[in-house]
């Protein structure tokens, strides 16, 4: 069962904005504020309970310069291993697929194969190379992702992509787990002679002491 992310922001409120003072102004849009980005969040049936969106996609119209930082925990989840390898072989990416519900950590080779299958399926739908797809997962450790539910939801997720603020908001809700609020922010600032936008979304509430590199 999939429901669209239009009502996603009804599930949990937005976090207060803690933007430090600087030579910028806050703008709406989160991850879609910057030129060239679309986002979506839908319920794909991955969560154990409830119908809150659990599948998010951020996509770029062009090949974007990519960077990633990852947990230094030696027990690293399959999508972490996959992304590190992918960023090693490609400087560019065009999509980030995120699921909530299962962390796909401590799932062995089978969990890694799940990530590759998800990336390949999404790349086919978006007509891009698999190495241009990056994956993030969050949820219960030791559980493989509900792959069939995820793969069946991909067409709807891709069709839901939008450059609107609603697209960004639904994605920000879809990546939450025990969070009480969704986290999304964007700014606009002068960089040299041009106006540039930087936006983002995040999730996190417990098991939080990042040491990423």
């Amino acid at each position: 069962v999939s429901v669209t992310g239009a009502e996603a922001s009804d599930y949990i409120p937005k976090a207060p904005i803690f933007l430090p003072e600087g030579p910028w102004k806050e703008v709406p849009g989160g991850v879609t504020a910057a030129e060239g980005f679309k986002a979506a969040g839908i319920y794909g049936g991955l969560r154990a309970k409830g119908k809150k969106p659990d599948l998010a996609l951020v996509a770029c119209d062009v090949d974007a310069i990519s960077a990633g930082v990852f947990t230094t925990n030696m027990v690293a989840a399959a999508p972490v291993l996959y992304c590190k390898k992918t960023l090693d072989i490609s400087e560019r990416a065009r999509a980030v697929l995120i699921n909530a519900g299962q962390a796909n950590a401590a799932t062995g080779d089978a969990g890694y194969e799940d990530v590759i299958e998800c990336a390949n399926s999404l790349a086919k739908l978006l007509q891009m190379r698999p190495e241009e797809v990056l994956i993030e997962s969050t949820g219960v450790i030791g559980h493989r992702i509900k792959k069939d539910a995820l793969l069946n939801s991909l067409p709807k997720l891709v069709n839901s992509l939008s450059s609107s603020t609603e697209g960004a908001d639904s994605a920000a809700v879809a990546i939450t787990t025990t969070d009480l609020v969704s986290k999304s922010v964007a700014i606009e600032s002068q960089v040299g002679a041009r106006t540039v936008r930087v936006g983002g979304m995040a999730k996190g509430s417990g098991m939080i002491h990042p040491n990423m590199a």
């Binding site: 933007l19 910028w24 974007a64 990519s66 930082v69 400087e91 040299g192 936006g199 995040a202 509430s205």
Partner: protein, 220 residues
């Protein structure tokens, strides 16, 4: 687990972008703590489309490079603070600022040591202006400093100076903490450890009974 996705339409080279992202993460997400547990899945992915029409940023030390770095720092710090504010069971955000260290990295390490202290976090929840726990957590951070230069403020209330406790109105200090907890506000802890130029910040939250309930009932 914390996850993040950052996007920009700035035009930037790959090596500069990757260096910038790590620096911004070190000043933001790597400076938050809720419970001291590092996840198996923590990830931040950052994409730069280059569609703004800006000139190519190929140097970190260029004017444009520094401007973009500041923007990245700002966005990531905003998101990082939201995570700490939303820590399981939290009633308030704790913002620890350290100045006077020999470097930014040393100041940051002291700040995170204080923000991570279970005793400091529990004291904030108990609305206890416990300068001793703050001083101890700064001291065991692994960064050398002269303890007679230690200065600690809670909000704008001076608790310690010259490494010694100062007379302060305990009720006022406790009310400062109580008000932050009642309004889901921010508790500011300001620490000076010397005369260096190093400044760093870390963010956490108070430790409540609710944290234990949530994690006693939720299984991984």
């Amino acid at each position: 687990t914390m996850l993040g996705v950052i996007t920009t339409d700035a035009l930037v080279t790959s090596d500069v972008w990757r260096t910038m992202v790590q620096a911004a993460v070190d000043r933001s997400f790597n400076q938050i703590t809720v419970d001291g547990d590092t996840s198996t899945n923590d990830t931040v992915i950052a994409l730069a489309s280059g569609l703004s029409g800006s000139t190519l940023i190929a140097s970190l030390n260029s004017h444009e490079g520094m401007q973009l770095q500041a923007c990245l720092d700002g966005v990531m710090q905003s998101l990082a603070k939201s995570i700490a504010w939303d820590g399981e069971g939290a009633t308030c955000l704790i913002e620890v600022t350290v100045i006077g260290a020999d470097s930014e990295a040393e100041a940051a390490k002291i700040a995170r040591s204080v923000a991570s202290s279970q005793l400091v976090k529990a004291a904030v929840y108990g609305r206890d202006p416990n300068w001793g726990r703050i001083a101890a957590a700064a001291g065991y951070a692994g960064i050398p400093f002269h303890q007679n230069k230690l200065r600690v403020l809670l909000g704008n209330i001076l608790l310690m100076d010259g490494g010694e406790p100062q007379p302060f109105d305990r009720a006022v200090a406790s009310n400062y903490l109580k008000k932050a907890g009642e309004t889901r506000g921010t508790v500011g802890i300001h620490i000076s450890v010397g005369d260096g130029l190093g400044r760093g910040q870390a963010w956490g939250c108070d430790l409540s009974y609710e944290y234990v309930r949530i994690n006693a009932e939720y299984t991984t």
